[in-house]
Symmetry: C3
Amino acid sequence: MPTILLLLDLAGTFVFALSGATAAAGRRLDLFGILVLSFGAGTAGGITRDLLIGAVPPAVLVDWRYLAAAVGAGTVTFFWHERIERLRSPVLVFDAGGLALFAVTGTEKALEFGLAPIAAVLLGTLSGIGGGILRDVLLNQIPTVLRVDLYAVAALAGAALVVIGRLLSVPPLLALLAGAALCFGLRVAAIRRSWQLPAARGPPRDDQRGGRKS
Amino acid sequence: MPTILLLLDLAGTFVFALSGATAAAGRRLDLFGILVLSFGAGTAGGITRDLLIGAVPPAVLVDWRYLAAAVGAGTVTFFWHERIERLRSPVLVFDAGGLALFAVTGTEKALEFGLAPIAAVLLGTLSGIGGGILRDVLLNQIPTVLRVDLYAVAALAGAALVVIGRLLSVPPLLALLAGAALCFGLRVAAIRRSWQLPAARGPPRDDQRGGRKS
Amino acid sequence: MPTILLLLDLAGTFVFALSGATAAAGRRLDLFGILVLSFGAGTAGGITRDLLIGAVPPAVLVDWRYLAAAVGAGTVTFFWHERIERLRSPVLVFDAGGLALFAVTGTEKALEFGLAPIAAVLLGTLSGIGGGILRDVLLNQIPTVLRVDLYAVAALAGAALVVIGRLLSVPPLLALLAGAALCFGLRVAAIRRSWQLPAARGPPRDDQRGGRKS
């Protein structure tokens, strides 16, 4: 079981790092900037989680595999970012993957540290959104979590499913995968929907809504 | 006494969350964005405080009433924000309330954790300014604490009054209320004064001073 | 030995605070804003380090000399900032000094807390870059660590030299000074080099590269 948690955590680090590196490459930062942002985006969620539950020093710092995952994602992006950018919204999709993986691993780790259900859900949600917030704040834009639909809600839903699974004694691996799939599915559906319904609701959104300021 | 501290803390969470939600509503974020920002602004100060004194997991995560206060403030703002925005500078006034309440509860909690007077004052100040900083950084503007007069100083003054009260064996409740009143009064006075004296000192302030960039 | 570590740490606080205060003065913030930013830039690295190794409450809060160093730097800048701004890139040079000092003291403190070599290097690097990141995020610009060459790499190199020195049983003071000199030298060389080679590599950098948005 700890192996599964570690694997999901490393996968989350890798895809969040991809989202950070791709965002950095899109801003024409050089290799150094790309690596810093891939490390920052990949590790912020896990560091937040570990600080909040008192697991210091954070796993990200003591286990070299997190560093390797982040640096690997940065290097891959540096060499292939033109190909990656041809994907549709690559930053958002990698971000959705990281969100989903960190939301469920954060929740599971919080449960293991003895936190109550609501606290574990909140902690999973914070772990999930942490990486994207750091990436966007460092790039001086309004974080995705505030700009797009169903972002924190998707993380909450995935985290809640893990907790519900635990309460119902569902095998943890199943609960983790179901929670991650729910979160990722909600986010990707929201991304696709908002392509087709760019300004569905009420008042016109001002340009801040777009996040990146001109 | 712990009940009073909890009530003041929840009140601080609520008004800081109002300031975050009102700022988010003013930027035309939707309900999700408003709730995220009300939770972020309402809880950042307390999370900062608890991390710095080693009280993990932070009270904000383990006690559901903080979540309820933040979500309540976000919901109220979502439905009534047009009415709220008709108030004068609602973000700044709610912010002043949160600043005052967190400055004194942060100081008191630091004293209870055995910190020395100067450390408790610093910790109270950081707790007070944390929520507003997160709110403004997430909305991609220069934090209020850097832009407006007497912000950190008001928090310092309120925190110092709590410590002085403790040293003089004043009843804690009295010291907390006096400290909060001092901080809130200083800030509101500064807000009103700068309405009337928008550019009193020296060189012309550049547009960054205004905080929100065009 | 602890005395040396404290002295280097205080010196790092002072020069990072100078960088924060000078940046604030350049944005025409007033004395309050300058002091907040000098405190923030001067202490963020050390607070980050102490949170990550579990040394709470952080040294910055419990030892008044850090506060004195930060306030001193802010006051000096307030009165002499026109003279300071006549220096070449004063923010970047002070920043390089703080980066170097915090990178080595962070590494050393992490080693003393029993962290493994790679973790200590990462922690020293994060301590080094923390102050500059907070300064730049608060001033609403893309952090120096993403914008300029050899920033995180210089911190990594300095931190690695301290760890290598420890593994080779070099006297700690020598390792600390050598690490700081390496980091500072790399950064200052990079600053000077990029004056002469402003856009050496590949595609034209977009305006975000310049960091401060118009």
